[in-house]
Symmetry: C2
Subunit: 334 residues, 2 copies
Amino acid sequence: MPERANTCAIAGMSDVWEYYRGELDAVEDQIRQNLDSKVALVNTVCAHILSSGGKRIRPLLLILSARTAGYTGRDDVLLASLIEYIHTATLLHDDVVDHADLRRGRKTANGLWGNQVAILAGDYLYCQAICRIVGFRNQDVNECLSEACRKMAEGELMQLSYKDDTSISEREYLKIVEHKTGSLMAAACRMGAVAADADPAQRDALFAFGQAIGVAFQVADDALDYAAPREVLGKSLGKDLGEGQVTLPLLHLRKHCTDDERARLAEVMAKKHSGNGDLAWVVSLMERYGSIDHAMDTARRIVQAAKVHLDPFEDSLHKRALHVVADYMVSRNH
Amino acid sequence: MPERANTCAIAGMSDVWEYYRGELDAVEDQIRQNLDSKVALVNTVCAHILSSGGKRIRPLLLILSARTAGYTGRDDVLLASLIEYIHTATLLHDDVVDHADLRRGRKTANGLWGNQVAILAGDYLYCQAICRIVGFRNQDVNECLSEACRKMAEGELMQLSYKDDTSISEREYLKIVEHKTGSLMAAACRMGAVAADADPAQRDALFAFGQAIGVAFQVADDALDYAAPREVLGKSLGKDLGEGQVTLPLLHLRKHCTDDERARLAEVMAKKHSGNGDLAWVVSLMERYGSIDHAMDTARRIVQAAKVHLDPFEDSLHKRALHVVADYMVSRNH
């Protein structure tokens, strides 16, 4: 990798992508190298999903955390590639669960090869990651990653069990979000700290940072489901409403609207397929009551609190980059 | 547990179930205790599938292997419950993959709660098992179990990639069987050896024994798909033919039949839904050429070879029980 001036300023996310391009390219190489199954179909399916344009946020978080904690070696690249395997395994299963045909504009694995192949390829990626992880012979890494995987599955099941349940509380909603999105980002950051052989307090701090920005990311993502123009997020608006998922803007709206509005809201939620008219009505109500702004403010507050966990670390370009990534998580084009 | 006469004879499988009832009951207790998710749906779904009448062959193999290698402690019960979790996770995903509505006469999890819940509950069971396993802090156990999981997923994908492919060789068929069924039984036996702190040669021997009887079990199961009356196996006959899965009896038949028969066989295989008439014709041809007998003989030969791996172990009631289980794997009512 070419030498880089340590004084270079990191002002925004494009600087981060630019500055860590060498590390992220090494992660891509590693992702390809890990796909060494003797079964051609395994490699084909996994390569398809792994190359479908993910932003590699979790690998980036792992690498930045390791560097912030003083790491200068190269083990973080392999760990980073494995955390992306786990994330990709969950995407494969999510797309089957959601009957999704497209992901980032490309056909999904289930769309191309069927549910059977997608489920099993997800299982394979999980297991391949765990196989490589145990090769590190590090108890903290083993525990942290297996726990994150368990929490993600629990979080998705929690969400399913609250489907169509409008009585869910904000606390329960945040618990789901922490499980399904916070846990793997927390693990990514902690694994970086472990690679750096950081002390327990630093490991816990980076874990807490990762968990908080993961929660913030999901809260913002859920808010933008009611706000983002289609082309920004590359997915359809109002997906959660259609699927009966109750998220923060809806919780806020339900609390602040009139009784009549609340009654009509319950009717819309009870429909299996709410139309565009319903969605437009819900969004206009949310705008009137400031529900989307409230959710985005909540996400931003979580990010500000997350940054406090980084205070004990020495100032560095890497720590600065973590701050930038944290802000990026709640921006409209994350 | 009540004391048992060590001189009691173990002649058949019913003696084994009887003699190890205490240990197997402890495994059942442990299986229930591990289901400690705070998410009610997780526990409900997992309890349903875990109590659906599996024979607990893998837990039994683990316990018998541990005892054969001299173990007298109680860690094997927890390990045994976790290997059953992994097995159950694969069943949850298999039932989604196969669109199965019934398993052992009960509704499947996907039938009761839908594919989403079944896929995620499978993920949860995998992860919960791995979480508990890493708690043992034993590198051999970590490697052995994660490797087995990876091989199972690879085996299923290998099988899918050979679907409708009649050019598959016996060698390739046996490789699939080794991956999808041999690997977890091999891991169960090796984990027993690890619990007993057996030496590397003994660990390898029990691994090889488990792998071989796993292969034999699957070869026999595939043969019985063309031979067993419906009520014995509790599943429909000729399932593999209908699904385009080429197994040993078909490989044998294809090799020994006339050119005309081979041509008609290819036609039957090419149909998406072969009728009962086709199946009856295939079975009668297999009977004429001895294809089912050949497959059962192959399974029995593999079992005999498997037993040789136990020779280095001191004779004991536990070792005798392993021999009995090995024979049971290729019996018609396994």
